[in-house]
Amino acid sequence: MFTHTDDGHELDLFTDLQGMDDSGLPWGFLSSSAHPERIREGAWITAGTPDVWAIARVIDIVTEDSGQIVHVQPQRGAGTKWLHLLPPPAVAS
């Protein structure tokens, strides 16, 4: 399981940003996420591989025989440009 990007950011969804499925969008397995609790429709997450990643919006989560598939729409440009879209870190009470 890949948990961080090469530049030290937490990686929420391992996915091929070059890839697609029937939806035309990059996809990944929810089960391979180190932070599945962050992945819900409409959420902004980090997605990609450790070396090439982006800030992406979760479009939907569909259940197939192979598992739960997360579709994302990445923002154009470097992930660091869009970090402000991510939710603030949870603070333990």
Binding site: Q18, G19, G24, W27, G28, D51, D65, A78, K81
Partner: protein, 130 residues
């Protein structure tokens, strides 16, 4: 095709042309995981798979570099006929110009991509949206 196989387009791949893949700087472990996730998602194809895009002309390659491949600092360019001759499967999957490159053996998939003649070139559009 059953749901556990990737959707194939009706338009066949061109006999000649290019396949454009992410280039330098991606770790083998990452490629292996991507290929394995493809098989886990689409077991009906009985092969490991990676995503790429085909191009007919050098202008097509340039367009891919500025759009779908813009995130990658380098791109690797193969000739489609060389990949076929090497024994790799090439499927026109999902939306044009997406291709899935396959082999039933993961080690062979990695080896054949490494050893099939190709060139790695800097992506002139990398970073232009940063």
């Amino acid at each position: 095709m059953s749901p556990n196989t990737p959707k194939l387009r009706n338009d066949p791949l061109p006999q000649s042309g290019y396949l454009v893949l992410r280039g330098l700087g991606i770790r083998e472990a990452t490629v292996r995981n991507l290929a394995a996730e493809f098989l886990a998602r689409f077991p009906g194809l009985h092969a490991y798979g990676l995503s790429g895009y085909y191009a007919v002309t050098t202008q097509d390659i340039d367009a891919l570099c500025g759009d779908k491949m813009q995130r990658w600092e380098h791109v690797a360019i193969f000739r489609i006929e060389d990949l076929r001759a090497a024994g790799l499967g090439l499927y026109p999957t999902f939306r044009t110009p997406h291709i899935t490159i396959t082999h039933p053996d993961l080690d062979q998939l990695i080896y054949l991509l490494d050893h099939t003649d190709h060139k790695v070139v800097p992506n002139p559009y990398h970073g232009t949206n940063d």
